[in-house]
């Protein structure tokens, strides 16, 4: 094989280096993790024709095809042109030119999402639709960003471990006259959420401070006394990450914001990254960028030009808690003596 391969360039086209010399794994985007099932035959064709016959359900919901030989990459790129056109441009409305060079960038990673309200009974939003709208905002930016969208605060999408975790909220509204005082909502809120409901004179009162917007009260209410406000609201978490040095869970940045706010905030990410990275789109988790800039500067830049809706809440400060693998001061050897390294 040709041992002179530009690994970085290939990675930017979404081909990941294999331990087998000259082999690569193609990661095809599927924003929000939902595509028409017919595309699977295309995946199979690539895997059987150019790959090693295997298919990996990518950790970020990419369609990943390992074992593609370096010399076959041009053929694969020609073959996926139509897929890129149909998913990125036709479906998501991404503003990009589709060429025979394959994917133009890997910086903005595939947007993950749980199945959301196209299926899930707990969901408060259409995660697929939002992921596609976000794809239009972030792709094909060379700046790294990891977003995950969850349909409800259960966060099956693990938004807590992404640069941005976006969680759908239900603002439930109470109709005093429809309530029969059965306490089902109180029980549901205490069991699934934060226990902010209580009974007063046979009716329900809510401590709005800590309602997490899960919608369980509306799900359980037998009379429709609790219903969802049809406007969708969102929580935005920031700075979550995995990694070898300092993995940490994301923290609450915005609460009860509208979709418009979410889209505008994400749009500002590129400018923020460019400033922090001095216009060099290198791979660094979003959390590190926020750390470098400081939360206040991050907040200022990311909310630039954003018209917050009246219900919106913004974090005044962030108290990060990370697992710090460099110092390891919380772990001690079992026998009290550190083994010689």
């Amino acid at each position: 094989m040709n041992h002179d391969l530009d690994i970085k360039k290939l990675r930017n086209h979404c081909y990941r280096q294999s331990k087998v010399p000259g082999e690569f794994m193609l990661q095809m985007r599927a924003p929000g993790g939902v595509i028409e099932a017919r595309y699977l035959s295309l995946v199979q064709h690539i895997a059987d024709t150019w790959g090693n016959g295997l298919f990996h359900l990518g950790m970020r919901q990419t369609l990943s095809i390992p074992g593609i030989k370096y010399e076959d990459i041009p053929a694969v790129n020609r073959y996926i042109k139509q897929y890129i056109q149909e998913i990125e441009v036709d479906l998501c409305g991404v503003d990009m030119e589709v060429t025979e060079e394959g994917y133009p960038a890997i910086g903005a990673r595939n947007i993950m999402a749980c199945i959301g309200n196209i299926h899930c009974i707990k969901a408060n939003i259409n995660t697929t639709a939002l992921a596609r709208k976000l794809e239009r905002v972030i792709y094909p930016s060379p700046y790294h960003i990891k977003i995950s969208v969850a349909g409800c605060p259960n966060d099956c999408a693990k938004g807590h471990f992404n640069d941005f975790g976006i969680i759908g909220l239900a603002k439930t509204e109470y109709d005093y006259d429809r309530c029969i005082g059965c306490k089902k909502c109180i029980e549901a809120c205490a069991k699934h959420a934060t226990g902010v409901l209580s009974m007063e004179n046979g009716k329900i009162v809510k401590d709005t401070c800590c309602c997490v917007g899960c919608g369980e009260c509306a799900l359980v209410c037998p009379t429709g006394a609790w219903t969802r406000n049809p406007t969708k609201f969102y929580r935005v978490l920031i700075g979550g990450r995995t990694g070898k040095q300092t993995p940490r869970m994301g923290k609450l940045f915005l609460n009860w914001v509208t979709e418009e706010v979410v889209l505008r905030v994400i749009k500002n990410w590129e400018d923020f990254s460019a400033e922090v990275l001095e216009h060099k789109p290198v791979y660094l988790h979003g959390g590190h960028l926020i750390d470098r800039a400081g939360y206040n500067r991050f907040k200022e830049m990311i909310l630039k030009g954003v018209q917050l809706n009246p219900e919106a809440m913004v974090a005044q400060r962030i108290l990060w808690t990370e697992t710090e693998y460099r110092s390891n001061f919380n772990v001690r050897p079992v026998n009290g003596v550190r083994a010689e390294g």
């Binding site: 309200n117 408060n124 006259d177 429809r178 029969i180 799900l219 009379t223 429709g224 969802r228």
Partner: protein, 349 residues
């Protein structure tokens, strides 16, 4: 007498009617359904006939108009009280045959059950008139034909919604004057004559059999399935249970109101009494109570008809997919089996 009229004309008549009536119909509350991006269809006052959701079954029945979910009965101070008032506007309610038949069951429960009438029910019920809505082919959970409640003649007006006009039958003389300008046509409403769902009613004809029915294994299965949420009873046109309580406005004074609020026999505390005693401890027992009330007790007591009208809303609303129609059929099979066993025992003796 039938009339054909445009939606525009019907809305003008609606305006006239609203001088004397509050007009209620199943309406769409967009995005307020149980699940995200689903709608809630329930009764509310309408401003135009286009608002009437006539091609879907409503989630809730019209009973809440004459039997409000929360109803103040009277207000009291330490030494006197005043009854709550209702205005003198009539109530004109768009309803389906099963619901109109269901309201006859409510009449029985509130007006013919024991010595005295329930005056708080009576004062709203007397004001109610119905606009019958046709059901087309009905819906997959309906079993009104099995319950004999697919037809009714107890309505003032009947309406068929066509894409660009309406057909209206005026049955009640009092409503004739509103339609005097309209084009006369032949129109009488059609009723569904078959449902996809057929229900066989149990024939429980002895107290010995009833006791065996109480102990059937089938009820236990629902202990793990039924969540005791009460959604089935809230949706039911014929459930009439309520609790009465006093609301004291100020902890330091004896001023307040007595009100009644719907109750559900599926809820754990329905039979709760002082001292923590309750009759029906498990969901299965509560579901058994409800089943027998709907397809046995009521008829045993009032003779003419079963309580359940087969509207199927309990099946539509149950988040656990417990089908009441299936329960009735299972019960009927069990009753047949018990009868057969009993007759074999007799024969074998």
């Amino acid at each position: 007498m039938g009339y054909s009229l445009s939606y525009g004309r019907m809305n003008e008549i609606l305006k006239e009617l609203q001088q004397n009536y509050r007009v209620y119909a199943p309406r769409r509350w967009a995005g307020r359904g149980r699940y995200s991006d689903t709608d809630l269809i329930r009764y509310g006052e309408i401003a135009a006939v286009e608002e009437v959701v006539h091609d879907e079954k409503s989630d809730f029945s019209p009973k809440e108009i004459i039997f409000p979910i929360t109803q103040p009965l009277f207000y009291f101070t330490e030494d006197e009280y005043r009854e709550s008032r209702v205005d003198d506007q009539g109530l004109l309610i768009f309803a389906r045959p099963c619901d109109i038949n269901g309201i006859r069951r409510l009449d029985t429960m509130f007006l013919k059950n024991g010595d005295s009438e329930d005056s708080y029910y009576r004062r709203l019920r007397d004001k109610a008139r119905f606009v019958l809505m046709e059901c087309g082919t009905g819906w997959d959970t309906c079993f009104c034909v099995s319950m004999g409640s697919n037809r009714t003649s107890d309505y003032s007006l009947a309406v068929r919604f066509l894409p660009d006009h309406l057909l209206v039958e005026v049955r009640d003389e009092a409503f004739k004057r509103y339609f005097s300008q309209e084009r006369e046509v032949e129109f009488t409403p059609e009723f569904v004559t078959s449902n996809p769902r057929t229900v066989r009613l149990p024939e429980i004809d002895s107290s010995g059999l009833l006791r065996k029915v109480y102990d059937l294994e089938m009820w236990k299965e629902y202990n793990s399935r039924c969540q005791s949420c009460g959604a089935c009873t809230a949706a039911c046109i014929t459930c009439s249970c309520f609790t009465t309580s006093d609301l004291i406005y100020n902890e330091n004074a004896r001023v307040g109101e007595r009100r009644r609020v719907w109750a559900s026999c599926l809820h754990e505390d329905f039979t709760a009494m002082a001292g923590g005693l309750g009759f029906r401890a498990t969901p299965g027992e509560r579901l058994r109570f409800r089943t027998l009330h709907k397809v046995y007790d009521y008829k045993a007591r009032f003779k003419e008809e079963q309580m359940c009208v087969g509207c199927g809303r309990c099946d539509d609303r149950c988040p656990e997919f417990i089908s009441f129609a299936t329960i009735i059929n299972r019960l009927s099979d069990e009753v047949e089996r018990l009868k057969k066993e009993a007759s074999q025992e007799v024969a074998g003796q």
